[in-house]
Amino acid sequence: MGGKKDDNERRSSRGVTRRGFFTAVGAGAVGAAAIGRAQAPGEAAIATAGEPAKVALRINGRAYRLLVEPRWTLLFVLRERLGLSGAKAGCERGECGTCTVLIDGVPRYACTTLAVEAEGHEITTLEGLMNGDKLGPVQQAFLEEDALQCGYCTPGQIMAAEGLLRANPRPTLDEIRTGMSGNLCRCGAYTHIFKAVQKASELKKAGGR
């Protein structure tokens, strides 16, 4: 995960597309899907939890030392163990992107990333985009363009936009659509989201970040 900068990797770093997701994040995600709670009840043998493991996570620049079950996803640990509820749980099977966080600056689905996999990587959540109690530029742009309705997919959209703009500070509309295509918005705010990403790009340029 992360690190490599070949062409494929850069493409995927602009955002996680629905179809490209499994190829982009590789076998770890598939493994998580197979042992996580995605299975329908009654279909599998009784699972065993495995021995809890110690992990050291770096989240929003802070160090956390935790005891986790190997099967716990990063999303579960963020939301239910650390109370970082910025990342939302929408499908927990790598489809909707409400759980998107940045891992080493690249948008990833936290629901298909195991907590143990995330060790040694820099994790950024929605909370990590704030400047103290002020909104970051992408957050501000989403607010101003009303790029949201119910707001539940919004944290994931903002993280995908943040990752997109870090990789490509001046994206074209087509690049924005592709970059945001791994994040579903059932309220259908997409066209406002496109405007927000464009505005965020301007705000970032003006703010020098």
């Binding site: 709670r37 699972a47 239910e80 749980a89 909707c96 009303d146 707001g151 924005i176 059932r186 066209t191």
Partner: protein, 769 residues
């Protein structure tokens, strides 16, 4: 088991009193109608907003539900012995658990047990577990052994009335006698027509798919229960839970200040509320129970498939002479309005003296339907608006002109044919066509290659856009001139809170930054019905205006005394009370001693009744241009325009948001969404977002134009607004289908217009079929 006394909301509610005097309509506004960012925008983009699924409580357990994997089965034995012994498992409940021996009402008269031995659809609840973590809860669910007697099933509504179809309930698969409507004489009408067309249409079943799954957190404090619920209406959930558990309403507090989408699927309580409550009671710990995404595809509602046969007669000059519609639909395994309102547009949208409709609702072994954004209407529009397109072509007139020819200013299908308070349809059609460049676009060449262009349009109205009582809200003005608004309504993402703050600001001059809102909490906020039916703004905004005006009256009285000026000479200007005659006679609200002495000024507002013998409906006309690749069957929507008469525009920014959202959802109905039930197993095969495709960022045009046709409806209510969220999605799919026809000459009468279906139809056309 004694039947609980149920509190159903089906018209039995007392109305809130009418405001004592009706204020003048707004003529000029400072705040209402402008573009304002959301009052809770910071909370929503910073992560500060706590959604029900975000709630974390000390000692909280996690629940999971064992659901029947068969479309019809009898539960013979449930063995929980292994599950109950697993580490971290705190409670396992089944139909044999006394605390879970509860009734679940699907309608006023149709009920089962919470865990019923007969499962009539895939995913009926069989047992549930509470454990220390969700993973452990699912481990335990998998360790429960259930012995089922698997029964024959029927999942296709078109086969439900066939001889020998397996019965879903004793007594067969008819929910009731067919619902019939008739006016005039259709036989005479068809005889008078120059052209009569007949066609069959079908829309596929759609799933709501809100991004926050359905679920709740339940916690007991002795005899009192608190539920954090992802809901469109805290009060309906409170009523159902309290009556099911035979508890006082006051002892069930439901909180849902934020919620992650519902679209009609979260208007009501669900079995999971009782399951969470029972598990929390047994374990004496808070319990979080959120459904998995897969479960939300099965058991928390859908927009049911509609099978429609429509016959229409028209004269050469475009006068409609007769419409005849038959509908077959299903609400699934229990009564759920399987054909509800599908025929409304045929009955009411266009002037037509002779109309007959007949709707047959049948049971199938599938999850019960729930209201879904404009129930029945997009389905009806799919048939009627494609038919209008075909009629226009048959008699050689423009589709816009055919609709203009048949606009009605009375609601023909309502009792007594009452006039509409306002009818903006004509302006939606003409101004929409102009802004879209309809006439020019129709003339443009469609292209010779495999990629062809076409344009289409469709229109609609929404039956329930008036809103209405009851609603009570409270506005508090503090001594420093800031205000608090307390209302029970949910903001389901439509911007309700922001609109209401704008109303307060309009009347009291309080800037939006100084308004705080509490909402959607049965413990602390006032009574409201669920946010649905596009009725929240026209219901709540008048109540909020009434409350603000009551504050204003007191404020002016206090100021009159202190300024020694007559009350009727005073007005609020910004944050001060000023004399209309002499601007020097003024005092800042925050400096009024009378307010300081009281601490605050309180106004209780209510929603008065709707006008008598009038109908209040929003109208819409939509236009789109598509590109169809005839080799691959792919349809690309190039541009889209929605012209809406929803009365006064309250907040232009969130108004546009509703428009683009409704259109986007309609594109899903048109192009990608369909529940697929396997014929051989009766199971849903696409219960996830890879296989059930909701529109993504790649599927929408770069811009969706919103054209408000602003006709403030001052007769409808004291805000002048009508509903918006539903009309915007009603004609969308039909407009796309008409554009695809314009591009290709192929009429896709069955949704979705998938590449596979379109390629097959195009091949058929080439083969001359």
């Amino acid at each position: 088991m004694r039947p609980p006394e149920l509190y159903f909301i089906d018209g039995a509610l007392p109305e809130t009193p009418a405001p004592d005097d009706r204020p003048e309509p707004w003529t000029e506004t400072r705040v209402v109608g402008s573009r304002r960012t959301r009052i809770d925008g910071f909370d929503r983009v910073s992560g500060a907003a706590v959604y029900p699924s975000d709630v974390l409580l000390p000692g909280m357990l996690y629940a999971a539900v064992l659901r029947c994997p068969h479309p019809q089965a009898r539960v013979k034995k449930v063995d929980t012995s292994a599950a109950a012994k697993m580490p971290g498992v705190r409670a396992v409940i089944t139909g044999a658990t006394p605390a879970a021996d509860l009734r679940w009402y699907y309608s006023r008269t149709v009920f089962t047990k919470l865990f019923d031995p007969v499962c009539r659809f895939e995913s009926e609840a069989v047992a549930a577990v509470a454990a220390d973590t969700p993973q452990l809860a699912w481990d335990a669910v998998r360790a429960i052994n259930v012995e089922y007697e698997v029964l024959p099933f029927v999942v296709d509504e078109r086969a439900a009335l066939a001889a020998g179809a397996p019965p879903v309930h004793d007594g067969g698969n008819r929910v009731a006698e067919p619902e019939k409507y008739s006016r005039g004489d259709v036989a005479k009408g068809f005889a008078e027509a120059n052209t009569v067309l007949e066609a069959s249409y079908r829309t596929a079943t759609e799933i709501h798919c809100p991004t926050e799954p359905h679920g709740c957190v339940a916690r007991w404090d002795g005899p009192r229960l608190t539920i954090w619920e992802s809901t469109q209406g805290v009060y309906p959930v409170q009523q159902r839970v309290a009556t099911s558990l035979e508890m006082p309403l006051a002892n069930v507090r439901v909180i849902g200040s934020y919620m992650g989408g519902g679209f009609g699927s979260k208007l009501q309580a669900d079995k999971y509320n009782l399951i969470a409550a029972a598990l929390a009671k047994l374990t004496a710990r808070p319990v979080k129970l959120f459904l998995t995404r897969e479960e939300t595809f099965l058991c928390v509602g859908n927009r049911p498939a509609a099978n429609m046969k429509l016959k229409a007669g028209v004269r050469k000059d475009g006068t409609l002479t007769a419409l005849e519609l038959t509908v077959l639909g299903t609400g699934g395994a229990y009564p759920a309005g399987g054909t509800s309102l599908v025929d409304w547009l045929v009955r009411d949208l266009y002037t037509c003296p002779n109309v007959r409709t007949e709707s047959t609702d049948v049971y199938t072994n599938a999850g019960p339907a729930r209201a879904f954004r404009a129930p029945g209407h997009p389905q009806g529009a799919w048939a009627l608006e494609q038919m209008m397109d075909a009629l226009a072509e048959a008699i050689g007139i423009d589709p816009v002109d055919l609709r203009l020819k048949n606009i009605s200013t009375v609601s023909q299908a309502r009792e007594g044919q009452p006039p509409y308070t306002t009818t903006g349809l004509e302006r939606c059609l003409t101004e929409g066509a102009k802004a879209f460049g309809w006439h020019e676009a129709r003339k443009r060449p469609k292209g010779n290659g495999p990629v062809r262009r076409g344009v289409g349009m469709a229109a609609g109205l929404w039956i329930a856009g008036s809103g209405g009582p009851p609603s009570t809200v409270v506005v508090k003005l503090f001594a420093d001139g800031s205000a608090n608004l307390n209302m029970g309504a949910s903001d389901i993402g439509t911007g309700t809170k922001t609109v209401m703050a704008m109303v307060v600001s309009e009347e009291l001059g309080v800037p939006l930054e100084k308004i705080q809102i509490e909402n959607a909490d049965t413990g602390t906020t006032q009574y409201a019905t669920a946010s649905g039916g596009s009725k929240t703004v026209p219901t709540e905004a008048p109540a909020v205006r009434d409350a603000a005006l009551k504050v204003k009256r007191q404020l002016l009285e206090i100021a009159a005394e202190e300024l020694k000026a007559p009350v009727n000479e005073l007005q609020i200007d910004g944050e001060a009370v000023v004399s209309r005659r002499d601007p020097k006679v003024r005092k800042k609200i925050s400096e009024l001693d009378g307010v300081r002495r009281r601490g605050l000024v309180l106004g209780v507002g209510t929603r008065g009744p709707n006008p008598e013998k009038k109908a209040v409906d929003p109208f819409v006309a939509q236009f789109c241009e598509v590109e169809v690749n005839e080799r691959t069957g792919e349809v690309k929507v190039l541009r889209f325009l929605s012209a809406n008469d929803s009365g006064r525009v309250m907040n232009r920014l969130t108004y546009d948001g509703q428009v683009i959202g409704g259109v986007t959802m309609g594109l899903g109905l048109a192009l990608t969404e369909q529940r697929v039930l396997d014929r051989q197993t009766g199971k849903m095969v696409n219960r996830n977002w890879h296989d059930y495709k909701v529109p993504t960022a790649m599927d929408v045009p770069p811009e969706i134009a919103s054209l408000p046709i602003e006709v403030p409806d001052n007769e409808a209510n004291i805000s002048g607004a009508k509903g918006l969220g539903e009309p915007v999605t009603i004609p969308t799919a039909a407009a796309v289908a008409n554009a695809v026809y314009d591009a290709t000459g192929v009429r896709v009468t069955e949704s979705p217009i998938s590449p596979m279906r379109l390629v097959a139809l195009l091949a058929g056309k080439r083969a001359g079929r």
